[in-house]
Symmetry: D2
């Protein structure tokens, strides 16, 4: 069935499968010391314009968030996030499982506001009276957010300066980074991200890889014994080559960025089709996720011909649903959808 459910419905970009096949029988050392991983690290460091970057590969997003956050925080610290942030809601308590509280601030279409974060930090760092509370030890943002929105350069700069002034790291979850960088109106590049975040990850799972996220510490600022910490959290693949080969491919000839552009182009067409068919938007994002409000009986009929994602109930008779494009969306998928919507 035609599917706009999410951006991880298909396997991998064909070049990744080709490269896995080409390299398949070359013996390599394990745990990320293989030549493909080394090469991928170099390519990513160059794409970030950070020659000193430490780059590590993990298998998935929750694992990456858990490992990065728990290895950077002291036990008495928590992580600040939007109340709609992935780590606050949809990771089954992975951060708390590692012993840390998620300190929430309001989410504005998924984004945190530097002023509201500052108000929270200020209390801890400037008053004496917080010894019985969890100290904010890091700020977590997602780019794009869970709602497909993106931070402007000015917004990210403000968060960067705020974190700098309180000497805590800014962590950017880039599960869908390529889709954010390719967004209409995005005024940030990969090197900008690398210079404004203290640690971030480049998502592979949602951008054409079978699995894999690349954690970047742009200034060589990985925590001590980070490999051991990855292992301890169960997140170290024996065949590190699997991640290495995938990211080496994604960062050869700009594939990662072109996959991002493709998904956003498809999303532009998707929005056009949704508008033309009179859909009400809950949130129209500049990236690959679009949130629309459907009357329940319409939703039911539509769901017989096209797959999309239930988001949440709007009211008794309406539902918010998500349509996502991806690296794998084809122009003809959009036209097929247009036909279906038109019929309804």
């Amino acid at each position: 069935m035609l599917s706009f459910v999410c951006d991880y419905s298909e396997g991998a970009h064909p070049r990744i499968l080709e490269r896995l096949a080409e390299t398949n029988l070359v013996p390599q050392p394990g745990y990320g010391s293989d030549e493909y991983t080394l090469s991928a690290r170099g390519k990513i460091a160059r794409a970030c314009a950070c020659p000193k970057a430490d780059v590590y590969f993990l298998a998935g997003g929750t694992q990456t968030n858990q490992t990065v956050i728990s290895s950077l925080l002291h036990s008495w610290q928590g992580v600040v996030a939007a109340e709609t942030g992935h780590i606050a809601v949809h990771e089954a308590g992975a951060i708390e499982y590692s012993g840390h509280k998620v300190l929430t601030v309001p989410g504005h279409d998924g984004k945190v506001c530097a002023d509201e974060v500052k108000a929270l930090l200020k209390g801890f760092f400037e008053d004496a009276n917080h010894e019985h509370m969890v100290f904010p030890g890091m700020v977590y943002i997602s780019f794009p957010t869970e709602y497909g929105t993106i931070y402007s350069r000015a917004e990210l700069q403000a968060l960067h300066e705020l974190c700098r002034s309180y000497d805590i790291p800014l962590f950017l979850d880039g599960a869908r980074l390529a889709y954010g960088l390719a967004a209409e109106g995005c005024d940030l590049t990969m090197p900008d991200i690398a210079s404004l975040a203290d640690v971030f990850y480049i998502g592979g799972t949602k951008v054409g890889a079978l699995c894999g996220e690349a954690v970047v510490f742009p200034r060589g600022n990985a925590p001590e014994h980070f490999l051991t910490q990855i292992k301890q959290r169960g997140a170290l693949l024996a065949k590190g080559r699997l991640n290495g080969i995938q990211f080496e491919t994604l960062f050869t000839d700009g594939l990662y960025f072109s996959l991002g552009r493709h998904a956003v182009e498809m999303a532009v067409q998707l929005r056009k089709v949704l508008h033309e068919n009179g859909c009400h938007f809950f949130l129209e994002s500049p990236t690959n996720q679009q949130f629309i409000i459907l009357e329940d009986s319409v939703m039911e009929r539509l769901s017989r011909e096209v797959a999309f994602d239930f988001w949440e109930k709007q009211d008794d008779t309406h539902t918010i649903v998500r349509f996502a494009t991806s690296w794998a969306t084809r122009p003809e998928d959009i036209s097929t959808l247009a036909g279906i919507l038109h019929k309804l």
Copy 2:
């Protein structure tokens, strides 16, 4: 270079790559609800002769051990293992990170002895005096062990009965299960394992998959909300299809078992070659791992032409090294090694 370093040096068995390519663009739901995962579950349940089995797929061994052990133990319980067990030594404290002690018993060529385990359990369950100690809540064994040795049916039966009598689960780490089942003298089958263990995993990473381990709860005895617990520990792949496709392939036409037999046949030839060239064995195992003792200068010369694994120092002038065969070892690798050894 010729390599006998380990059984995870290469990529995947070619049929797995083919199957990944064939299915690549079929959209599927995430998190293990795809059709390949469903099919793989069924095939594994049949291979275990356990129609009610719960089967889950995780990405790697440490992650699997951590998730299974921490989800089955109560907070006041620890896991009993050989002092040489993988969880006791080489997982960077992943079990303790999840809050549980590893209670060790002596390892006999990697195996635990039911009588010694019983002596430990007996104290806790029959005396009153252990309230200030960590209670044994599970027995962990590896099959084959970290030394390539295997349990006989009688030995496994004894451990099964012991665990049953104290009402604690027996967990079998089958990272290299195929190599154990194919071993010379092995009197156990997959259904035997499934009937004697309360939970076990079928290793993919070391037996021809890019990644992936299949956890089997043979009697439908998975812990409540196990999927959520996997997610919470960062171990749930978004593209569950990656594991599903690999295990579906491994359990089609008996591929998993034939890979096991191949590695063991290669190991038989390897042992022969090592013997013929006068090598001293530290431990000669019936599976794919062989441990020999090399004089250090010999080791140094040998290492210029063939890769193997440093195990530990034997004394000031000798070192124990490991040679491993795998699903990917070719007969000509053994002859090449024979030539190299002969020269030395």
Copy 3:
């Protein structure tokens, strides 16, 4: 200086010190198996009208909350609490340190509302779609709350029934239980609390003991190996007699309840004095804590003659402060305060 800072400013009720002295040199076994602890358990069970109650003594409130909550929850569960609840704000992340999320609902003068809790629970227990979220596994309330307010019998009954219907425990934090039971308008007794909560603790530290909280599992429903779990969390006193003697004294001749009544009588007079002197109340509670709003210059002058607790800034020129009475407040303290306020 005259002090209304809190209810743990002084040492212990004199009868407790006398009893410590009387029993001082009688040798007793450790870890809570002494005769005083046994006697205290019996007296508390009787005061709760729960002959089968399991009663355990811990040293402090945070420790008790951490131990009870973490030993009752499964790893995939969190605890529901008011966003102003002590465990959510002022315990330095002790619950998250034990691996669990605090799931917050709005606080209404410190209280949770059964309907809002139900709305949260309903989603988890009646929809399928929450596998990536932390499941609510317990409801936590404080009685009286952090704002001195109390639940009515009807409100507690509603929470009891809600928890029963979803089969999760209701945990009542009674750090100041005596002050709640003695409150004007309280329509609940200790046996009522015991029949409506699944587990609760009777606070000693804030009601005349040097330290100590009594955890009650009214229906003999303590978790398995609870003593070992207390030990594991560092919360088991070697000289269990210290807690035993204190609680035995508090539950002899109704001392605990009369200390509660005394503090509330003092609070009634305190409120009268505050009203007579034109103080604005932020929250006027029926128990021993009163929250008033002071103009900052008044606050500054007042603080030279009487100690009270800073609560939070109301606006740029006003501050909310707390005045607390306790078992140790003397009628003359109130008159002295009246004189001081009158002068201002």
Copy 4:
């Protein structure tokens, strides 16, 4: 009944009770900012000859070990201890509960040997090959040990230098410190302990206090936000005065040291009586704990008239038992025991 069960059978030294009564109604701020705690800190710093010492008070030994160890270690580190160390055996897994492995070395009558510790450390710090293992991040010793033995100055110096050379802290558990310092042949003073350990605690519970242990960071080297970390682990008493008053008393006029000397004098007499009555010693210690081997029928008869501690079975017909003196042992208790033994 006459009791030599342990050193925490009675309440508190009478001067402590007197001082609790004297100060009882003086209002004080909570959580260790009271004047008695401040005074106790100063007295302890002086007794240690460490004017810059950070001193914190916790309620019990397991709690103290758990808090100190988990706040000093990084997540990827474990603590080295004797296999008979309290944290390795008798604290219900409190260290593992906080996420860290206890790395054991052989115990020699309870003591670790610097050479054996060095052999363990050397591997981690000088070889490259330990990334999949738990790194040793601290050395834990008890003084006196669980067997009543003590380290000589030379032995402690060796451990100090070893830890210094690998830049990891040496933690000394002084639950019974007074009894060690007063031991025959002890060539160490409190200032020596303070200069050779990086952190240690002075036990109160077993030396005349109702509860309480004083953690000393001799060079002002407490971890950041240590108070918050104590709170987070549930170990912060609201009435910090309870610990403050007790330790202020113990460190006034050398009471702590004289209690130590008294117990050791009683132990000298105890040993004499045991010898005179032909008892076989399992371990004759220079401190307050003596371990003897009793034929089971003798043990049974003896236990009707005097209480002692079961240690472990020696063989089918003999048992090792412990007799402990303490600050509360009276000379007549020894004579009474002599009479009882003589009759047998």
